[in-house]
Amino acid sequence: MSKLVLRRIDRNNEEMLINFGPQHPSTHGVLNFLVETDGEVMRRAIPDIGYLHRSLEKIGEMVGYPGYMPYTDRIDYLAAMFANEGWAIAVERLLKVEVPRRAQYLRAASCELNRIASHLVSIGTMATDIGAVTPLVYALREREAINDLIEALCGARLTYNYHRVGGVAFDAPEGWRDKVLRFLDRFDSLLQEWDRLITWNEIYLKRLGGVAVITREQAIDYGLVGPNLRGSGVDWDVRRDVPYGAYPDFKFDVPVGRGWAGTVGDAFDRYYVRVLEMAQSTRIVRQALEKLPDGEYMAKVPRKIKPEAGEVLSRVESARGELAYYVISDGTERAYRVRARTGSFLAMGIIEDISSGLMIADLVALIASLDVVAPETDR
């Protein structure tokens, strides 16, 4: 850990310094926290990230526009579809390419399936971190089913590389639609099962209710996005408010934290917003597949992608909130600058201030409820 941090810490009292991570099961990847504690109560937890830094932004300047697509998978390995989609939308806006309707619907369906899978990991591991080990198994069971569906669609289970500049790589295979609809019917009952299993469990409620409260003002000020922002009661969703792709065609609600376990913006609100979002995602997938238009799934895109000079910001609502690509083109085959603004990076920024006064055990709840994923913070 850095000397600069150690210098900031006052050593003349009873406080203890504990390294939490980088190899710790409940940090979900390699993160390190330098925890300054007085007994069981933390004074603060200072996050130290960068273990997975691969300079993906620099790589973006070195490979061509279509060649960067597989790298975007690595930005967030639990929700790679969104990183694909954001990159595709950014380049399409630079090229001024119109994406066919069928491709947009397939994008929406694949992304929402991925959102369910990502949220399942998030809430499953959260329950494990809190101490309930069983729910993770139920969550992973359903995630496997989604992985199978996505594998049938694009051949990969984790790093999908499915979207393309101008459309998607493959059309939906024969019978895929029915398979997905059958899965969704089953999944609806899982959500009820899930609520019975863990959500309204009394111990779970007590562990999460009123813990690590992030107020509405704080959430906006610290730049939280996605379920973390909505958990704090801000009614904002990029899919609805700055719509892109096929989302204007779909009906869905945006769940917002209501203080189900006591306080608006506590760890339980961030958790339960994710559970409710999964139900909305199933609605979107159903609508996308029922209304799936015929036609091309790929626009006519020149073989050599050379957008004219300009800069663009594309936003998509990823599973971890707004994922924005800021791309500058200088008229050549490679981007001049690629920037991926991810939700987890900013979520890490709030931990130091929120953690003061929490119990050590609640730090785990805070990290899990913010759903930070190490490759997305580090890139």
Binding site: S2, K3, L4, V5, R8, I49, G50, H53, S55, E57, K58, R93, L94, Q218, I220, D221, Y222, G223, V234, W236, D241, V242, E308, A309, G310, E311, V312, L313, E322, A324, Y326, I328, Y336, R337, R339, R341, F345, L346, M348, G349, I350, D353, D378, R379
Partner: protein
């Protein structure tokens, strides 16, 4: 409010300190003089009717040809659903830009990231230290002229192409094989086989006896 309306209000308030809106090729932006940046940001955040409360993105771009580093601010308002892109220019040799951490807390980590990867110093930042890379890392990787140092504390970042070694092993094996099995003498004239037919490669298995 549209971006150009926000920009007009900024120019009415700050005059020359806010440059003209760029030609909207895709997304327009405006340059701001560095010494007025914090004032401009406070104005954007606190003025009723603007209330830009979300610092959506803060990053930098290196332009060695112009000898400048641009720091780019993407700002957005949740309430009114409008936004503007501001840019600040600094020299490449010793880039210093005032910190907007006091306006939006989100800028804290994003400024640290820019400091880490571009070497821009943000004056007034409370905790300016590297975020991605180790503290003793040399250089700022996202600058266009960054050269890899070739290792870090004795850990090399280069490795040999594994195919070279595999190919060497392959050649060694082939040489050994050739040594152990010298090439057969040139074939003589083919002798007529006894049966007059080519020998079958394998005899069919005998049928099990009942």
């Amino acid at each position: 409010m549209t971006t150009s309306e926000i920009h007009q209000r900024l120019q009415a308030q700050f005059g020359e300190a806010v440059g003209p809106l760029s030609e909207p090729k895709v997304d327009p932006f405006a340059f701001v003089k560095p010494d007025r940046l914090v004032e401009v940001c406070r104005f954007l955040k606190d003025t009723p009717g603007l209330e830009i409360d979300f610092c959506e993105d803060l990053t930098a771009v290196d332009w060695p040809k112009r000898d400048a580093i641009e720091v780019v601010y993407h700002l957005y308002s949740y309430k009114y659903r409008h936004g503007i892109v501001l840019k600040v220019e600094a020299s490449r040799a010793a880039p210093t830009v005032p910190s907007v951490e006091g306006v939006w807390k989100a800028a804290n980590w994003m400024e640290r990231e820019v400091y880490d990867l571009f070497g821009v110093t943000f004056s007034g930042h409370p905790d300016l230290r590297r975020v991605m890379l180790p503290d003793d890392w040399v250089g700022h990787p996202l600058r266009k002229d960054y050269q890899e140092a070739g290792g870090f504390h004795g850990i090399p970042n280069l490795r040999e192409n594994p195919l070279v070694e595999l190919r060497r092993l392959d050649e060694v094996r082939m040489a050994e094989h050739a040594k152990a099995n010298p090439p057969p003498p040139p074939p003589a004239a083919p002798a007529p086989s006894a049966a007059g037919a080519p020998p079958s490669p394998a005899a069919p298995p005998a049928a099990p006896k009942a």
